[in-house]
Symmetry: C2
Subunit: 165 residues, 2 copies
């Protein structure tokens, strides 16, 4: 393990502050950990966290255009399009042109999509639960409320749809 040992002596010229104390670093790690847990729990369904969120939102909406869905799940519009295309390729979602507004795509979950959603719900729930399972019940409530306050503050709402800042 020669290369694991330091090959030179760090100057540490400045030392801003440890990575593990920076909120942004911890948040990135948390995200990384959750995605890993989600994939471990739901990997057999071949679906990603974002795709699951989109499918959930779609089940709620019934029918929605891509921009509305993007706002629902707080995703960039083009990112949403890409994920929806992948879902559509697997017949979990339909993306028909809306005849009332030919600019828009009328998206809806297929029966297969809704079936998958129901089938994997328990696994998805435990992935979310496991992510913060290390904290006590009361700490979990507090932790979630902290996140919600920050997220709410950085979300602008229009017509009931969340919009990115």
């Amino acid at each position: 393990m020669a290369s694991r040992t330091r090959m030179g002596r760090g100057k540490a010229a400045h030392r801003p502050w440890p990575l593990a104390d920076r909120p942004g670093f911890l948040i990135r790690r948390l995200h990384q950990i959750h995605v890993a847990l989600f994939n471990a729990a739901c990997g057999e369904f071949e679906i990603t966290p974002v795709q699951y969120s989109l499918l959930s939102a779609l089940a709620e909406r019934g029918v929605a255009d891509q921009t509305t869905l993007a706002a629902d799940v707080s995703l960039d519009r083009t990112t949403t399009t890409g994920a929806l295309k992948r879902l559509a390729a697997r017949r979990l979602v339909e993306r028909a042109v809306n005849d009332d507004d030919r600019r828009a795509r009328a998206c809806r979950a297929t029966a297969e999509g809704l079936s998958l959603l129901a089938k994997m719900e328990a696994a998805a729930r435990s992935a979310h639960r496991d992510t913060i399972a290390l904290l006590s019940k009361s700490e979990q409530k507090l932790f979630i409320s902290f996140m919600q306050r920050i997220v709410d503050r950085n979300t602008i709402r229009q017509d009931g749809a969340a919009v990115l800042v």
Copy 2:
């Protein structure tokens, strides 16, 4: 805004639970918010949060191979390589082959890289601070400690270098 209104009536067949109550969703949003704040504060330096983390780690280490750096910042090895290549292309980092172990790359921050690090430190700090600024001081401490507990639990340490699970 016809398309923003619901084009159909959602069945809400199951309604697992609102996105905004799911830890994983909140974490993704938090990450999204921090990255946006970081880019707003540090955009002029043309550097991303990950690149900043890598440069920080490199300044601490002095010299390190890519696998060690990946462990330091808890990044996938191939992701690390990509980011280091981009830093190297801008002369902020050197990636020389290590003569003692020709498999490894001896990476180090250039004078230019260290200079940039110092120049943008204040902006980077405020981006991290602003991310959780909505919480009170004591809440911030609590919030950070919650995140650290979860992250620590999901990090295996070897020889002082953090390793992903």
